[in-house]
Amino acid sequence: TVGAVALDAQGRLAAGTSTGGMTNKRYGRVGDSPIIGSGTYADARCAVSGTGWGEYYIRAVAAHDICARVAYGKQDLREAAESVINREIPAAGGNGGAIVLGADGRFALPFNTEGMYRGWIDAKGEPQVALFKDD
């Protein structure tokens, strides 16, 4: 699964996710990536793209939950991301990660697997890339 979240110069947020699903899947199984609110979501304050065990992200409505905590609970974006990805989903038996970006430009990259391909770039144009937990 791959994804991106962006904040433009006008303060608009967007999120996108694309995936090949999971190896050896059957029955037309669909994961969370194309389901708005589960693997992909954006509003005026928060944008999310997820990557993980899709069934858990769907049941948790993970991407929307993160943004709802920010919008309604006034929770800090990083705390909201950590709560859903690294506490709620593992507690239910799932795992994975997400990228989360706020309208103020702050972002979070929580994950609870051995690694997550990830990167970010700011207006200076310097790309930062990491793969493993210790990167």
Binding site: A4, P34, D122, V129
Partner: protein, 174 residues
């Protein structure tokens, strides 16, 4: 506002399953995706354009589970899903279960921009892609030998009643 772009290429990465050349290729592809998206933002384009530009690069890179390099289904097919959402207007587009659309994220954008719907699946989504003039490819375009071997390993494990041995053939990760 200072434009920002953040990307991911999946949470199924493990050090043991990757050699140095693969790691370097993954890092280069991620950097390329970041530059492609940032170029859109630097040109004053909307966040949506940056997201599509970055994801298109990752879909074209064979080391990630999306577009070319996607994992195989039980039936030996590459089956692709994608979604896009605009935070400023709550607009969204999504597609699932397509086999011929070169860049699924571009089709998700077309669903959002060119239809009254939010989600299209399967043959209907591909018919819409054709109507919109989006690039379609032979399904073999998406195939990589590494992903094919992952499927063979998963099938053997399944036939033997074994748990999947590692994260690359685990039930839930591509």
């Amino acid at each position: 506002v200072r434009p920002v772009l953040v990307i991911h290429g999946g949470a199924g990465v493990i050090r043991a399953g990757m050699d140095r050349a693969e790691e370097d290729a993954a890092r280069a592809a991620l950097a390329q995706a970041l530059r492609a998206g940032q170029a859109e933002l630097a040109a004053g384009k909307p966040a949506l354009d940056a997201v599509v530009a970055a994801i298109t690069v990752l879909e074209d890179a064979p080391m990630f589970n999306a577009g070319r390099g996607a994992v195989f289904t039980h039936d030996g097919k590459n089956e692709l899903d994608a979604a896009l959402m605009d935070g400023s207007g709550r607009r969204a587009g999504a597609i699932a279960g397509v086999h011929r659309v070169k860049n699924p994220i571009v089709l998700a954008r077309a669903v959002m921009d060119k239809s009254r719907h939010v989600m299209m699946v399967g043959d209907g989504a591909e018919a819409f892609a054709r109507e919109q003039g989006l690039p379609l490819v032979d399904p073999s375009y998406f195939r990589t030998e590494k992903r094919w071997q992952q499927l063979q390993k998963a099938l053997k494990e399944e036939a033997a009643g074994q748990a999947h041995a590692d994260v690359e053939t685990a039930k839930h990760f591509g």
